[in-house]
Subunit: 386 residues, 2 copies
């Protein structure tokens, strides 16, 4: 693992914006790149576009084989021909977030005027709003005046909320899934553990790990392991692993001697950690976790989330999952209440599942039926035919 | 932090057992030490002794100023004159667990025949049962034939269960608080994150950090931070910190620029991590977390926890706390059911609180009243007067 200097060199579909972007933190990027993928066909009226926003460590490869890992797209079950987000009908766009590491401008890119130097920890702080503004540049570039829907889970759901608040006239339907309007103290705390694990890695080198030829793989893996526990429920961990042993010991003495390599759940977590570092950059992880932690849409609107949505015509579908303790139902319900106070058109469904936060990525037929049904209904209201 | 080589050199009250102890893993310690503290006075009949078992990273200084940190004892609110465990009436014993780092034999001790070498990662795997057997040696040494009560929270509660199962005739009353009869997959997973953080520390040096003069402080701090989140509830984190900022920024740009030092909860967690490493040894942390992970009392009794308690005359009080998600009420209830199946005398109380797992260490008047009441009732049954 120590040998990897940078992520695999993959050519990503992208657009470069030479006008740049002025970030909320006060720093302006003179120019920047947004990497994206599309699925399906934009209709002649340009009215059938759906923007999918990816989660913390997701990327634009939502519905196709991933160019680095070779695995299916992270939302293959949801996006595709005949799927709930039907690409026979809709034109789906997914962009890598600003600050990411799959082709959009981020900390591993060259620092302007830095003589080949990279940004590293000097990369400016990025907010969810900045991410959404970069996506808006992409949508404008594609010649799309209004998105039929904006859809995303987790940190992707935060982007959906920001879209609906910042550009209500551009969003016919908004679907924030398993998300929240702000990051809780517990979520911030878990992210901080991950960040400290990265800082503690011997290869961190103050964020300039590319200079030494070694990435902070162990620290990043620990960060991922810790985060991964929060994506699952206690029930799903128990169902998948329980206390099953990895190397079936022959007797109690041997079982005890095998300590540390013993439980299947330990081995599973280590695998999650070690595969993650092959596709994700540590500085991007810091940038994006901080963007999520800083998100507090209500605070941006004088402390009342309803202010973010007053007068909106957007149709909302909020979805949460019973065993999700990272973005619990209460947080989606709070958004639903704010939308109700703002007089918005809102549906809210909580799905029973034991799969935890990750349920939004997994095989949840009821959730998928609800997505398809809601989008179908909205399509009628939007006058989308065919 | 990097300068600390070993923990402060404190002389702990202790007893050395030259007969040693044969551990469950098959390794025998030729001799070993148990460090302990006592509070109150043993009566002439030697019938008023209460053994308090400490939790994962606790120690024997339950009810007095801690010799290293200078802080009050970890259970000062519960143990003392006029307290729920009244030292005017009871003789309270608390021993550092085997594998610990406050005077009982553990990984930082010299390895026998090692020419001054320490045990380090060669220290044999220790189980909860081993810890209890070492405590039993201490109780025998003190000339106590029967303990009036054995009492402890969290991993201390596991020791209480093991006492009641292994030495039922020696335990008049058993009080496992906020505990479980086995470690869940989620608990194992969180422990594994902490262990991996220690292994990832540049000063870990394969566990032989004393040779370099630097302890794996950052990794151990990350382990503690991660564990600390699990000791609190989301509600208590929100109540204590919410999204409050640490360095009150003057404007949004500055707030964003302050990323990372921003939220109070981050600063609090870092403080928890950095103070912990001044009093705890990394190899002990590995040893004790693994003992907790391995604990599965039902499995030791043919897969039915009730078998551990058949025919017992011990009186049990089980206590849990509503917001404890590390050792949730369901796990205490499962113990209560097993005790019922075994025909044992069992009381079970769940206390409403938003303080999470840590509630057993904090100011919880209802819990304290229940402890005092239960012990008072048992004292009558035990014929303890005065």
């Amino acid at each position: 693992m120590d040998e990897i200097v940078t992520l695999p060199d993959v050519e990503h579909t992208h657009v470069r914006f030479d006008a740049g972007i002025a970030l909320e933190c006060g720093v302006a990027l003179d120019s920047h790149t947004v990497a994206y993928r599309t699925y399906g066909t934009l209709n002649a009226a340009r009215t059938n576009a759906i923007l999918v926003c990816h989660a913390l460590t997701g990327d634009q490869y939502a519905a196709e084989r991933h160019p680095v890992t070779g695995k299916p797209g992270w939302w293959d079950m949801v996006v595709g021909p005949g799927r709930p987000v039907d690409t026979n009908r809709f034109f789906v766009i997914c962009a890598n977030v600003l600050g990411g590491c799959m082709g959009s401008t981020g900390p591993m890119d060259p620092k302007p005027g830095g003589a080949g130097e990279r940004w590293g920890t000097d990369f400016p702080a990025v907010t969810i709003r900045d991410m959404v503004r970069a996506q808006k540049q992409l949508i404008d570039h594609l010649g799309i005046e209004r998105l039929f829907a904006v859809l995303g889970g987790s940190v992707g759901g935060m982007q959906v909320l920001e879209w609906a608040a910042s550009y209500p006239e551009m969003v016919f339907a908004a679907l924030p899934i398993a998300s929240a309007s702000y990051h809780s103290a517990q979520n911030i705390a878990f992210h901080e553990v991950g960040r400290q694990a990265i800082f503690a890695d011997p290869n961190w080198a103050g964020g300039r790990y590319w200079e030494t030829g070694r990435i902070p793989a162990q620290g990043l893996a620990v960060a991922r392991m810790c985060a991964h526990i929060t994506y699952m429920s206690e029930e799903s961990l128990t169902r998948k692993f329980g206390r099953r042993l990895q190397n079936a010991p022959k007797n109690p003495s041997e079982a005890i001697a095998l300590f540390g390599e013993m439980f299947e759940v330990e081995s599973y977590l280590r695998h999650q950690g070690s595969t993650f570092v092959q596709r994700f950059d540590a500085n991007s992880y810091l940038t994006i976790t901080r963007a999520a932690d800083y998100f507090d849409l209500g605070a941006d609107y004088k402390g009342d989330l309803a202010n973010a949505f007053r007068g909106t015509k957007t149709r909302f579908l909020l979805a949460s999952f019973t065993s999700d303790w990272l973005y619990p139902t209460a947080e989606s319900r709070a958004i639903a209440r704010a939308l109700n106070r703002a007089g918005a058109n809102v549906s809210f469904v909580e799905f029973p599942t034991d799969k935890g936060h990750d349920a939004f990525l997994l095989d949840e037929p009821d959730f998928h039926r609800a997505l398809a049904g809601f989008l179908g209904g909205c399509a009628v209201h939007a006058g989308l035919t065919g």
